[in-house]
């Protein structure tokens, strides 16, 4: 019976840490993520998830570094950048980060708008109502309550699993295209790799790297939680990529197989309707709604966390509005800008979010640099410096991503595609 007791203790310990890793990772599949997966899957089918396993490992490894830094140093990534690199670099990074996150917020507000339109609600009013409710909820509720809400929202991602099954997938093709070698498309096509890059960019995000450390810090985990937190982060990475795979399946076996190209999620949902039935569309919209809402909460929070870390103001979900004024202000500002931009019919959301994606991608190598620097510093991490595999893997990925970012930029500038 002792082993039973042991398992019980381990499970209890796991539930203590449960939250940050899964919430951060799943929130990576926000409205922008859903849109990118959908558009890419309509174009390239299951091949758009090719190399999903290395991608999962990269997400897991980078998130694990963030988590480890937060638990060992008891400081967030923003804290360390300010303390080690001074006010100038901090301000520069924060400005870029703010703009990049604003773009992601915009994606989520427009995702919310699309899902409201799919349910044919009066979207303007509902949008304003939801945003205000969101702001009040985050200010009023403490960390524990908010985390319960986040975890509940994650359950809605299961709708994508159902949608995937409703599309009657050919699992053999899924395995062939995703895990072995894509045959349905020309893999040496440059455009495919740009699109694949975009898909990865929505999964491994800059804000995700900052958020996981800030959020763990706010949860006040200590060194004895490290082992379980690592498992939780890995689990989060696997679940996230599983959900995104299911999204791709749902789109690939409907739109891609019928050769229907779409520009955004709204068009995709409408196009799926005759192919997979009304129920599939409802599920798809519900998933989009919850993904947008989760992203719309987490991303502005990620901005607010980094501001209060870099400039030292009180910043915790447990703090009251008066003591965490700056923290909550940044949260509110980002949502309001996103809301107003979406309410103006003249704004070209598609273009704006595209630019945000580029900024995000350009910032990513920089963040990798900090992750490597901090996690390998003996002075900061003591016995918990990165293991050899982690170091090499993150370095290699950093280099590959940097090359891809430069290529994507060059491609945009010289109009290669």
């Amino acid at each position: 019976m002792r082993w039973l007791q042991k398992i019980k203790v381990q499970l209890l310990l796991f539930f203590v840490v449960f939250g940050p890793g899964i919430i951060t990772a799943v929130a990576d599949n926000d409205a922008g993520g859903v849109a990118t997966y959908t558009v890419a899957a309509a174009l390239y089918g299951m091949a758009s998830s090719f190399l999903i396993i290395p991608q999962t490992i990269l997400l897991a490894v980078t998130q694990e570094i963030g988590a480890r830094i937060a638990i060992v140093c008891r400081k967030g990534l923003g804290d360390l950048i300010r303390e080690r690199y001074g006010v100038r670099i901090s301000l520069l990074i924060f400005c870029i980060y703010f703009i990049a996150n604003q773009g992601v917020v915009l994606q989520n507000v427009s995702g919310l708008k699309a899902s409201l339109q799919l349910f044919s609600f009066p979207w303007q009013l509902s949008l304003i109502g939801i945003c205000l409710l969101l702001i009040v909820t985050v200010i009023k509720f403490n960390y524990k309550k908010l985390q319960q809400i986040f975890l509940f929202m994650i359950l809605f991602y299961l709708t994508y699993v159902l949608s995937a099954f409703l599309s009657h997938p050919d699992w053999g093709e899924v395995i062939q295209e995703t895990f072995i070698w894509p045959q349905k498309i020309n893999i040496f096509d440059f455009r495919f790799w740009f699109s694949r890059m975009a898909v990865m960019g929505t999964t491994i995000t800059v804000w995700g790297q900052f958020f996981v450390s800030s959020y763990i810090l706010d949860k006040k985990l200590t060194i004895e939680h490290l082992k379980h937190e690592k498992i939780e982060v890995f689990l989060g990475a696997i679940i996230t990529n599983f959900f995104s795979l299911m999204m791709v399946v749902a789109v690939a076996f409907t739109l891609f197989h019928n050769n229907i190209k779409v520009n955004n999620v709204y068009e995709a949902a409408l196009a799926i309707k005759p192919l997979a039935g009304n129920f599939a569309v409802v599920l798809f919209s519900l998933g989009l709604f919850s993904a947008s809402l989760l992203g719309l909460t987490i991303v502005p929070l990620a901005t607010a966390y980094v501001f209060s870390e870099m400039f030292g103001t009180e910043g915790s979900l447990d703090s009251s509005f008066s003591s965490g004024k700056m923290f909550y202000s940044f949260f509110i500002i980002q949502i309001l800008i996103g809301l107003i931009a979406t309410l103006f019919p003249a704004t070209n959301l598609f273009k704006l979010t595209l630019y945000a994606d580029y900024i995000n991608a350009a910032l990513l190598p920089m963040i990798f640099f900090f992750l490597i620097k901090f996690s390998e510093s003996k002075e900061l991490m003591g016995d918990y410096v990165s293991k050899r595999f982690t170091s090499i893997f993150v370095r290699a990925s950093g280099i590959i991503i940097t090359i891809l970012v430069i290529m994507t930029f060059a491609g945009k500038i010289f109009r290669l595609y």
Binding site: D79, R82, E83, V87, L91, G312, T313, G315, S323
Partner: protein, 404 residues
Amino acid sequence: MLYFSEIKEKQVITDKNVILGKLDDVIFLAAETPLITKMVIRKRDNELMIIPMEYLLKFNNCITMASNYKPSELIENELYIRKNLLDKQIIDVAGNKVIRVNDVVIQDKNETTFYIAGVDIGIRGILRRLKLKKYALPIYRFFRSQTHPHYLCWTDIQPLELAKGNVQLKKERTHLEKMRAEDLADYLEKINIKNANHIIEMLDEKQAASVLGELNVNFQSAIFSHFPPDKAAKLLSFVDTDEATDLLLSQNETRRENILLLLPDNKRSELEHLLSLSYSPIGKLITTGYLTVQSSETVGQVLKQIKEKTMNFPSLNYVYVINPENHLVGVFTVHELLIQNADEVVHNFMIQNVVVVHLTTPKELVIKKMIKYKLFALPVIDQQKKILGIITFDDIAETLLKYL
């Protein structure tokens, strides 16, 4: 007063004009008096070298060291500004995050002795670090936004916590919002006049006035003399009248006249009146912050007058009663007033036997009277029993302190 951000990267040379390198960091003693003990110099080959302050000869555009310097090491109780203080998170006693250290304020005691006076936690500190202060301040002014310098004194910081990587305060965050004028004054008196003047100039007039009011007389006059007449006049309108008199008396006659001319009429006549009394020992202590009422007025009327006339008084303990000829005939406390009915006439409850002093009364006697009769203020009257002003206990308290 220097800022760390301004001295960092300064060229370091020896007295024989050999370039040693650039100032990279500064080492200080983590104690109640954070004396700067060593300088860290980054040589051209990027190696760091620590030189004790004893070898410092000059500190101006560049730092000059004696050429017979001997490199040294960090010892116990010593910390680096950059590594242990700058950009670090400040937390209060309860562990709440307050803000980060944006810059470090360094004080020069003399040519070659420096210590840390405090830390800059304001937006100005950030702008200075970004070398944007020049451009940003006009923009701020345009929006009439405040960029008050925001400092924390070293006395508020627990030096022992620094070594653990925390900048911890001795107070709660909520007590920090505004440094009390009295504390700032105490602090200013410790540093030299030039620096105090520097700090006062950065405060707004109201704040500067209350700080100035708390300084000792020598300091007051020294700082006050530095102000141009218009600024001095503005400042005077914020300080209590007895302090204003003191300040004016510390100036020479022409300057006094110049400043008085710039004051609004009512304030000027009030001050001129007090100045005319200042020849006597207690004349300088007299304030005009008192209220007189007629003995036929009702409690309601008095309350109305208190609301209308005493808004700018530092305090109000007694109301003095006069007859139509302006003779002092009675007194009552605010407490006595409050317990009466609104239609009660002053004459019925005032105390007629008023304890008074004259301009010729020596200070010691004033103190004795105050203590004996347990009064917070005494009216000063002339031969015709007319009130000239009052002396309040807080003005006398300073004299009392000297006897302790």
